[in-house]
């Protein structure tokens, strides 16, 4: 059986090994404290009253009965948010952004999606809070919901916002619109490019709204003290982002807010935005007691951010020998109720795997009456790759060229200029494609099923930028020779380990001697979210830098102890030694033991916003079986190949690749938001929102391709997001090979497959 392969360029002492994660024991024995696990003296429980309508004007809210209900300690509505008392003049240029942010937390004049918060209650226990919330009377005037980008962009469409205008790189439309933004990028001349093509394929694709599907619901606990100090505990990808978002909507100074990030039960991009934290804060302010709010699963689906649904047109042309001549795409992604879909990143990712002379991209960010879209693992890239990689597959078929071979002929590489301008540095797409071509999976023909079920294989590639952004860490040398690493990066899935490994490598000491922990916002410098595939790269770099500082301070200390010159002392393999006097020698631990009597602790810190993030590419291969009588698609074999730079902890890198592939498989086959005619989600449970279960998946084989990132001392690239990009198209392409039908709409449900087979047969 092929399982997990690591194609390594360089070996290190700690990096590339598979130690047990530092937080592992607490998590397997149930001691780790996740957001909903927190309890405080006098804790109250909150419940949010949400809109039953997708689009309606709020005519009145009467909270009096809820306020009088026994056990109720506080009730809030949008009137309790500072925005309600601020004028447009007072807010100036920030008016609209704050209005959107504030209204998203608690609806002001209008509700814009089913599940939109309208009021919240705090009471002695969650059941009482729920009973009281039902007593709040809200009078609505229903408005027609706008549910798709097509409807939203149509002439005369119902407007969600009277004051939203289309912004196009600084240019703003004169009339209000549901299109929040339009961007265009081009290179060369696509008209000429398509003229030069021997084959041109043009297709339109749709994808449904899907959810990140983290198992832990959103939660937030707050204590607003009488002196104005606000303490918040929550599950978030970024404590500092929560702090600044709270400061913004609560108009409360950052210095008076402390956010403590709890362990996090999955985010995937969906736990960056605030939802419950400001409500808990306001309820605490009003009641004088700490308040905890936890969403139930229906609320998570209906009122936290799904990934954008999309409508994408792609046109690509190639010569007879399979060289791309032109690539064009028009991408409209739905933002949900407020602007901010990943339309622009979708556009930038669309053709990122290809080197092509002529290109044109148009991207639209469109508001609709759905919950506000949030990031989901490589935001925008999966939707774009689904469309583009399907068209590439069709080009390959028309040209009679092997799909991996075609991609190799057109692959982006070092020096390729991206459509938005920058040029790639060292990237590993070619290496991934070569690994795919030579993989046992690709070399083994799809076996034919005797039962008559249809089988096929699909291939697709994918891209994500990866980013750096700001990270901070504090390192302390302990007297026993261990090193505490305090960081601002929340650990979603093993970064304590990958950071500890890098620190151990940099210092040359044992992995077990590194003690990583995550600090609250009062205790560490600003650190951006864990997301964007940045943490192992950027926070890792911060600890490497700080480690160099620790070494230097240890050299200085040794020099002082030996009464030697600093420049005569060196640090080699965790040993301090005099360059010329071999008698003068001290191990790391020996020096650590002497620090408290020779001037005190040695600490170092680093705050960085590093350049040099390495872009990430992946190629996935999938075999499917289609039951033509029921339309059901089963995954038979799956291989994920990715350039990971240097895999710091290969097990968790494989885990990222497998988990991303699994989410992509769900997106491709079954996951979608169903809305009824009134714009209400009808499948807001894990029963009806069908994420893959253990029986739906095979073992997912991985190949880690290590093309070192020159921007990191150990060659690290981010890995977390790219794995979700290729599966959608890979599966669609496999279904095509099995059935002969191109699925141009996701998910590829059994019903859709049956319909497609029927229309293929003309029955």
């Amino acid at each position: 059986m092929v399982a997990n392969i690591v194609l390594s360029e360089v070996e290190y002492t700690h990096i590339g090994k598979r130690p047990i994660r530092p937080d592992g024991v607490d998590k397997v024995i149930g001691r780790a404290q996740y957001g909903p696990d927190i309890t405080l003296k006098g804790l109250l429980h909150g419940k949010v009253l949400r809109s039953p309508y997708a689009h309606a004007r709020i005519k009145s809210i009467d909270t009096s009965q809820a306020e009088d209900y026994p056990g109720v300690k506080a009730v809030i509505t949008a009137q309790d948010l500072p925005f309600a008392s601020l004028s447009k003049e007072e807010l100036g240029a920030g008016y609209q952004a704050l209005k959107f942010a504030s209204d998203h937390i608690l609806a002001g004049g209008k509700v814009l999606f089913k599940g939109h918060p309208v009021a919240a209650v705090a009471a002695a226990n969650p059941h009482v809070a729920e009973e009281a919330a039902k007593l709040i009377k809200v009078e609505y005037e229903e408005l027609p919901p706008v549910m798709s980008v097509l409807e939203a962009m149509a002439d005369g469409a119902t407007l969600l916002h009277d004051d939203l205008y289309t912004s196009s790189l600084g240019e703003t439309s004169q009339t209000a619109s549901n299109v929040a933004a339009h961007a265009r990028y081009e290179k060369g001349d696509v008209v000429q490019g398509f003229d030069e093509a021997a084959v041109v394929v043009e297709r339109e694709f749709q994808t449904a709204s899907v959810h990140q599907g983290y198992i832990e619901p959103h939660n937030g606990t707050a204590l607003w003290s009488a002196d104005g100090q606000l303490d918040v505990w929550c599950s978030t990808q970024g404590a500092f982002t929560v702090r600044s978002s709270l400061a913004n909507v609560l108009r409360h100074p950052v210095s008076k807010i402390k956010v403590t990030p709890m362990e996090m039960g999955g985010g995937f991009g969906g736990k960056i935005s605030i939802y419950l934290e400001p409500l808990a804060a306001l309820l605490s302010k009003k009641s004088g007691q700490p308040v905890k709010l936890v969403m139930n699963r229906v609320e998570v689906f209906e009122a936290s951010g799904p990934a954008a649904g999309s409508l994408i047109k792609v046109k690509m042309g190639a010569t007879k020998d399979g060289k791309l001549t032109a690539c064009q795409a028009e991408l409209a992604l739905d933002a949900g109720a407020y602007p901010g879909s990943p339309a622009m990143s979708a556009a930038m990712c669309a053709f990122a795997c290809y080197d092509y002379p002529n290109g044109l991209l148009d991207a639209y960010d469109v508001v609709v009456n759905k919950p506000k879209t949030q990031a989901y693992r490589a935001p925008g890239s999966p939707q774009a790759a689904y469309a583009v990689e399907s068209v590439v597959d069709e080009l390959c078929e028309k040209l009679g060229i092997d799909p991996v071979e075609f991609r190799l002929r057109n692959a982006s590489k070092e020096g390729t200029r991206r459509i938005e301008g920058p040029v790639y540095r060292r990237i590993g797409l070619v290496e991934c494609l070569e690994a795919a071509r030579s993989h046992n999976h690709y070399q083994t023909p799809v076996d034919v099923q005797p039962s008559g079920k249809l089988r096929g294989r699909g291939v697709a590639s994918g891209f994500w930028f990866n980013r750096g952004f700001v990270s901070s860490c504090n390192l302390t040398l302990n007297p026993d020779g261990t090193v505490s690493v305090v960081m601002g990066s929340v650990d979603l899935c093993g970064t304590r380990a990958s950071i500890a490994q890098q620190t151990a490598e940099a210092l040359g000491i044992a992995y077990e001697d590194i003690k990583p922990s995550i600090a609250d916002t009062d205790s560490i410098g600003y650190t951006f979210i864990t997301g964007g595939s940045r943490t192992t790269f950027a926070t890792g770099l911060a600890t490497i830098n700080a480690s160099q500082d620790i070494k230097q301070r240890m050299i200085e200390r040794a020099a002082a102890i030996w009464e030697a010159k600093v420049e005569d002392v060196e640090y080699v393999d965790a040993v301090l030694q005099h360059k010329s006097d071999s008698e003068l020698r001290m191990t790391f631990k020996e020096l650590a033991g002497r620090t408290l009597t020779t001037g005190g602790s040695i600490t170092a810190q680093c705050n960085i916003d590093p350049p040099g993030e390495g872009n990430s590419f992946a190629v996935h291969i999938v075999d499917v079986e289609v039951d033509q009588e029921t339309g059901k698609v089963d995954i038979l074999r799956y291989t994920a190949i990715q350039d990971c730079g240097k895999a710091v902890h290969p097990s968790y890198v494989e885990g990222q690749m497998q988990g991303g592939a699994a989410q992509g498989i769900g997106w491709a086959l079954n996951e979608e938001y169903f809305f009824n005619g009134q714009g209400q989600m009808t499948n807001s449970s894990f029963l009806d929102y069908r994420m893959p279960i253990s029986l739906d998946l095979p073992m997912i084989d991985t190949v880690i391709v290590e093309v070192a990132n020159p921007g990191h001392p150990y060659g690290v690239r981010g890995v977390g997001e790219t794995p979700i990009v290729p599966p959608l198209a890979a599966i669609a392409n496999a279904v095509y090979q099995a059935t002969g039908v191109r699925m141009q709409s996701l998910p590829i449900t059994p019903g859709k497959v049956l319909d497609a087979l029927w229309s293929q047969n003309g029955s």
């Binding site: 059941h127 729920e130 009973e131 229906v298 009588e629 029921t630 339309g631 059901k632 089963d634 086959l669 079954n670 169903f674 009808t682 499948n683 029963l687 009806d688 069908r690 893959p692 279960i693 029986l695 739906d696 449900t749 059994p750 019903g751 049956l754 319909d755």
Partner: protein
């Protein structure tokens, strides 16, 4: 969830009295896997939950080749499929008992609860109907028996009157050369609601080449589980063949009155009734032949 009271009667008469005292504001709970979700989601509201699990008759599970199978209304699924004698005698029932929810749900959920919940998609109901199951009901006015196919009256509604309760489901002794099967179609491989479910049972003659009789029942294609009597009857006295099975499948489709919803369209569901009727009949025949 709104406030509820909870009672744990030890006898049927005690339970009946409790149920009668609250009318439609009381509900019997076995596994609770449906009721608690409904109460929490506000889809059902009651004042009193009566625990079925302390009442001996509701926990009885017995099988004898003379008297057939008695499954108390509170017996959880896993106990049924863990019993080798029952599993051997009623594989069609086991098909359903082993796919309701996941293993956790099967540790609590009962066939009685599944029947009383009366969901059009209830997985155990078609095989119970196909096997000729009978519901034993106790109430303040004495006890009565209702054929499984007559038990459900609408989505979430059944024949139980206020103050009545399901005691057990009785399934007749499987006759010689008989076999049964249940299949459902779902997009995932478990943990899902049937887009369509079909339960069939057949009795063959000694040669195993001809149908003596057959019963076919369908899930998720009407407001209640459907007993497709004509489809089953069409096989009686006919040879086992692709053509007769095809004919029965078409009659099963005719008995279905599905709607289009998020789980499937009318056309898809009708088509699946045909596919699953054919597939379950083939399995049932194979089992009847001792395969």
């Amino acid at each position: 969830m709104d406030w509820i009271d909870f009672a744990t009667p030890k006898t049927i008469s005690e339970a009946v009295e409790l149920l009668a005292s609250k009318g439609d504001r009381a509900r019997l709970i076995a596994g609770g896997t449906d009721l608690l979700v409904q109460l929490r989601g506000g889809r059902r509201s009651v004042d009193l939950v009566v625990d079925a699990k302390q009442i001996p008759e509701l926990n009885e599970m017995s099988y004898s080749p003379q008297n057939g199978l008695v499954i108390g209304a509170a017996v959880p699924c896993y106990l049924i499929y863990a019993d080798n004698a029952i599993a051997e005698a009623y594989p069609g029932l086991i098909d359903a008992a082993s796919l309701i929810g996941g293993i956790q749900i099967q540790g609590r959920a009962s066939l009685g609860g599944n029947l009383c919940n009366a969901a059009p998609s209830g997985d155990s109901i078609p095989p119970i109907i196909a096997l000729g199951g009978v519901a034993h009901i106790a109430g303040s006015n004495g006890s009565r028996q209702v054929a499984a196919e007559d038990f459900c009256t609408g989505p979430g509604r059944n024949v139980l009157q206020d103050g009545e309760m399901l005691v057990s489901i009785n399934i007749p002794v499987p006759v010689a050369h008989s076999g049964a099967s249940y299949l459902r179609f779902i997009p995932r491989n478990e943990m899902d609601i049937a887009v369509v479910g079909v339960g069939t049972s057949v009795v063959l003659d000694e040669s195993g080449q001809n149908f003596v009789s057959a019963r076919i029942s369908l899930a998720s294609v009407a407001p209640i589980p459907v007993f497709a009597k004509e489809a089953g009857d069409s096989l009686a006295g006919k040879p086992v063949s692709e053509a007769t099975i095809q004919e029965a499948s078409e009659k099963a489709i005719a008995a279905a009155t599905p709607i289009s919803d998020m789980r499937g369209t009318i056309r898809q569901r009708n088509h699946l009734v045909g596919v699953l009727t054919r597939r379950t009949l083939n399995i049932a025949v194979e089992r009847a032949r001792g395969g």
